[in-house]
């Protein structure tokens, strides 16, 4: 294991209690704002001190409350890139990156390291500029270069793209993905953007109210989020409480739909269905629905449906591309929800 983390920290009513292990891979912490994901990174970096627990990175104990070990940030070699990049405003791009080489005493080596990374990050031409005189994307590159030149054992990115305009975002994401792959050690990314998280990471830890709710392979987490919160964070908008009828049948009480499930219901108390999962071909889970409303998106339609037999029930959403809806277009449609599209969720 490259990183082992098991910490607790109280902050007023809020209680952070995170356990996590990861190898040389990219792990994302996905969660709503205030769930404790940034605080977790700060605890690892030594900016915040946990009340209790243990943090180990590559066999170095950074923090251990029982053995009273609490390495200062300077000795942790845990690189943390802040949301605003935290470049020193009074220093040029060169000086900013040069400060990251302070591990070395020899000036020549420091200059050489700075030169190399400037070249690698395509920043050589900007080296005399102040951070306020370069673009958001260039600022991010400078911040990453400054961290990597300090030779960290672990790289942490806190909402890396949230300060960028949307057109820059995608390009920087591609660049960053390449950089963190080359880094080859553990990378922790904090984000609330499910698409970004899916594209960047190997594994995803979904956080809720200070705890890791679900932790697993990225595809597994999206296919079967397991909890209501994780399901919402992975972008599912159709979630309803259920009443269990038998091990493979539930009543989704919000929508008045009796659904056949693939998996055993167990102690699940909610069900989630993704917006695009309502056009299967199988015989089960077929429902005649009234169209409540149609909303046009740039490249698709969102159609709100209600079970035709239950006019008092709530509506659920169905998303389909423009051509598909234009060929259907009616006040009443028959849908089919595949068994494997039904996600059983715990509270």
């Amino acid at each position: 294991m490259s990183i082992y983390l098991d910490i607790e920290k109280r902050l007023g009513d809020f209680c952070l209690k995170v356990s996590l292990e990861a190898g040389n891979e990219v792990v994302s912490l996905l969660g709503a704002s205030g769930c404790g994901k940034s605080m977790t990174l700060k605890c690892i970096a030594g900016i915040e001190k946990p009340d209790r627990g243990r943090i180990v990175v590559n066999d170095t104990v950074l923090f251990d409350s029982e053995k009273r070990i609490n390495l200062p940030s300077q000795k942790r070699r845990a690189g943390l890139m802040f949301q605003n990049y935290a470049l020193f405003p009074n220093m040029t791009v060169w000086q900013n990156i040069y400060t990251g080489t302070n591990r070395y005493r020899d000036k020549k080596i420091r200059q050489e390291k700075t030169r190399e990374i400037l070249e690698r990050f395509d920043l050589t031409e900007l080296k005399e500029r102040l951070p306020s005189r370069i673009s958001g994307g260039q600022q991010q590159r400078t911040a990453l270069a400054r961290i990597l030149v300090s030779e960290p054992e672990l790289l942490m990115l806190d909402e890396p793209f949230s300060a960028l305009d949307s057109h820059l975002r995608f390009r920087m994401e591609q660049e960053t993905r390449k950089i963190i792959r080359e880094f080859g050690k553990t990378v922790l990314v904090v984000s609330h953007d499910r698409d970004e998280v899916f594209r960047l990471s190997d594994r995803i830890a979904v956080m809720n109210n200070g705890k890791v709710d679900v932790y697993g392979d990225r595809t597994a987490v999206f296919a079967d989020p397991g909890t209501r919160n994780a399901c919402m964070l992975t972008g599912c908008k159709n979630i309803s409480p259920i009443r269990k009828l038998d091990e493979h049948r539930v009543l989704a009480t919000d929508w008045g739909l009796v659904l056949e499930t693939g998996k055993e219901v167990g102690d699940a108390s909610y069900v989630g269905i993704r917006h695009h999962d309502a056009n299967g071909e199988s015989p089960e889970n077929r429902f005649l629905c009234d169209v409540v409303s149609v909303t046009e998106n740039p490249f698709s339609y969102t159609v709100m449906l209600r079970h035709a037999d239950h006019p008092e029930a709530g509506a659920f959403g169905w998303e389909l591309d423009k051509a598909a809806w234009q060929s259907v277009q009616s006040d009443r449609v028959e849908i089919q929800i595949p068994k494997k599209a039904i996600m059983l969720l715990k509270q």
Binding site: G46, I47, N90, N102
Partner: protein, 222 residues
């Protein structure tokens, strides 16, 4: 016109400003870090000289530094030095009076500091002193300069506490402000006016400097 008062005023103000530059910055930096209740109390005590009448400050200083009182007596006994009625006695008075000006502006400047800069500095291995002198101070530079200039200007104009602790001896402890009072009292109106004009000129230049610094600050922020 004997220029001794001008020279004396400038050196008293200069010395106390240098002292207060460091003391004010360190007080502002460390007091920001201590628990809230103690901070509140300390803050009130340290700001007090700003609102107290200078004569009260002078009185209190004499109670401590006067030749018949604790520290003053001890100095006189041990080193044979009188802490009052010399030109540098006035430094005690101006230092105490201008301290809150520096302390409060420095605190305001430090409070506007983006703490993530210090955090990210630490995580890439930078030492505390490096972060303080090369990142925090430059970041807060404009505010600190404004505070220093303001403190200097106030020190130059100090009268009440200075006249009590250093008195008025022409050619020895006379400052611009005590000279103006003395000349006016002795009906030497023409000379008093000259000193008044000197003082006005200095204050004008100093306040102009403060405004220019603050303008630059706004430009940078906006």
């Amino acid at each position: 016109m004997d220029l001794y008062p001008l020279w004396n005023s400038l050196r008293i103000a200069g010395i106390s400003t240098v002292i207060i530059f460091f003391v004010g910055i360190f007080a502002a930096y460390y007091i920001a870090k201590i628990p809230r209740v103690i901070k509140g109390i300390l803050d009130v005590i340290l700001t007090m000289p700003l609102v107290l009448p200078p004569t009260v400050v002078g009185y209190l200083l004499l109670r401590v530094l006067g030749p018949k009182h604790t520290i003053g007596a001890w100095f006189l006994e041990t080193f044979g030095i009188r802490l009052t009625m010399t030109w540098w006695s006035a430094v005690f008075a101006t230092t105490v009076v201008i301290f809150p000006l520096m302390y409060r502006t420095a605190r305001g400047a430090f409070e506007s500091f983006d703490e993530t800069l210090a955090y990210s500095g630490k995580t890439i291995g930078l030492s505390g002193p490096f972060i303080f002198w090369r990142i925090r101070i430059p970041y807060c530079k404009q505010g600190l300069i404004a505070g220093t200039v303001l403190a200097f200007a106030r020190a130059l104009g100090e009268y009440g506490a200075t006249s009590m602790i250093a008195g008025y001896t022409p050619g020895r402890t006379a400052t611009i402000s005590t000279t103006v009072y003395q000349l006016w009292r002795t009906d030497n109106d023409a000379l008093a006016l000259k000193w008044v004009l000197v003082n006005l000129a200095i204050s004008f230049v100093v306040l102009l400097a403060v405004n220019m610094v603050e303008k630059k600050e706004r430009k940078r922020a906006g």
